[in-house]
Amino acid sequence: MNKIMMKGTEAIGEAAIRAGCRLYFGYPITPQSELTEYMARRLPQVEGTFLQAESEVAAVNMIYGASSVGKRVMTSTSSPGFSLMQEGVSYIACAQLPSVFVNVVRGGPGLGDIQPSQGDYFQATKGGGHGDYKLLVLSPSTVQEAADLTGVAFELADKYRNPVLIFADGLLGQMMEPVSFSDKKVSYDNSSWALIGAKNRPARQVTSFNIDPYGLEKMNLELQKKYKLMEENEIRYETTLTEDADILIVAHGTMGRIAKSVVEMARKDGLKVGLFRPITLYPFPYEALRKSAADVSLVLTVEMSSGQMLEDVRLAIAERTRVEFYGRMAGVVPMPLEIYEVLKQKIGRRS
């Protein structure tokens, strides 16, 4: 497989096309506009359709439309844009429409800045929109992984008829790394539920509406069953030197690979530090983390936020172990040495 240097945003775009996505609707916003622009350039070359929506609100509803007629479709945005999509996302989740979203998170809240951040973790994993729904949330840490997980995202979306969110940050979006793509032919078939004309069968409805609360509760229970299945089958994470670790760092996305450098530093100093990197943020790898953390004396969660995944980490290990947090906000990226210093300090304080 030939490797080419690509930005994370562009790799996601190319991978989507390889996954059979021929439709993109989106609205420009830094730091993800490269993905929008990539699709504008590439999709016409493969007889696909690129359309710049008039807003993120329009974009998410175009996704709803394209998905409801059975096609693989995707959009991408950055934080404020994803906030605008929340109503639509809730509709899509309830109507069980497969679709892929990319949020290249930037510093917030509000207009914030355009630097990398992970401050939309809660929004992504707990449901930024209304009601009891879940997105499948994937957090890649390298450009290659971003490409690979994009393929996975389309598969999972169809498998569960659920929206999938690729949660990236500005670092990953802008970073270039060598990447290769699989040439596997993809095919998919959503004709069993999609709105493609009531020909030789009863008319079909795709809906998030049920005026009868018992009917709606049934719809919700179906969703919950599906989420249960996801929790059983779709958990992904990566561990580095956790077997003998006395101290565990938990970090996701690019923060995860920055933390890997910390592990390397610490190991050189003879400190038994390991790394747990959740790849699926929802479903969160509670069980696996609990195991990895079973014998450590300290868990340090590092995020580019004020501490959001931290709550899931706490839930996972139920405070049997001390859980500390370190984070930077607003696009300030915690650096390896910086984190290592914090780590040493926390250990110091312990003794």
Partner: protein
């Protein structure tokens, strides 16, 4: 073996391209590489830099607190990055633009009058390739051949005269540092 590099300068000086050419070269040699751009808070025309990692191992962090090799193409970059060069690391200075001396003694400083050399070649815009030639020859992070190939790959479609000019710039650069 891991090289961690920061290349920094004004927006127009082609520092981003320098990093991308380096990565391309590293990749063709089968190395693991990352390139990470960073734009200053100024909206337009401010200082920009990129971080490049070239390594025999998969790259963990794409950001570095303390790079081994730093290239500064203007004064603000010198002020910003001199302090963080790793002990015994390299600091490459475009001395045509940076008319001041670094303060640190625990690093290796290499001055390249990149603009002047480029000017002699007839095109100021190849100052970046001059610097790259000097940089690669000194740090050996990639081979010169790979560098030239990578540059050609990046300039694919451009006039052959332009490509020749860039090759010449790289050569003048490495010649300046003794290559």
């Amino acid at each position: 073996m891991t090289h961690s590099i920061i290349i920094s300068g004004f927006g127009g000086q082609g520092v981003m391209l320098m990093g991308r050419v380096l990565c391309q070269a590293g990749m063709t040699e089968g190395k693991h590489v990352t390139w990470l751009p960073s734009y200053g808070p100024e909206m337009r025309g401010g200082t920009a830099n990129c971080t490049v990692i070239i390594s025999d191992e998969p790259v963990a962090s794409p950001v570095v607190d303390s790079p081994e090799e730093v290239v500064v193409m203007n004064i603000p970059s010198l002020l910003k990055f001199e302090p963080i060069v790793r002990r015994n690391g390299y600091l490459f200075i475009n001395s045509s633009v940076v008319d001041r001396e670094p303060k640190r003694q625990d690093i290796k400083t290499i001055k390249v009058p990149a603009n002047e050399i480029a000017d002699q070649l007839g095109n100021l815009r190849v100052a970046n390739m001059v610097m790259l030639g000097a940089f690669v020859f000194t740090t050996k992070c990639v081979n010169i051949e790979s560098l030239i190939d990578a540059m050609k790959y990046k300039l694919k479609g451009k006039d052959s005269s332009i490509i020749e000019l860039n090759v010449e710039a790289i050569k003048q650069g490495l010649r300046h540092v003794g290559g």
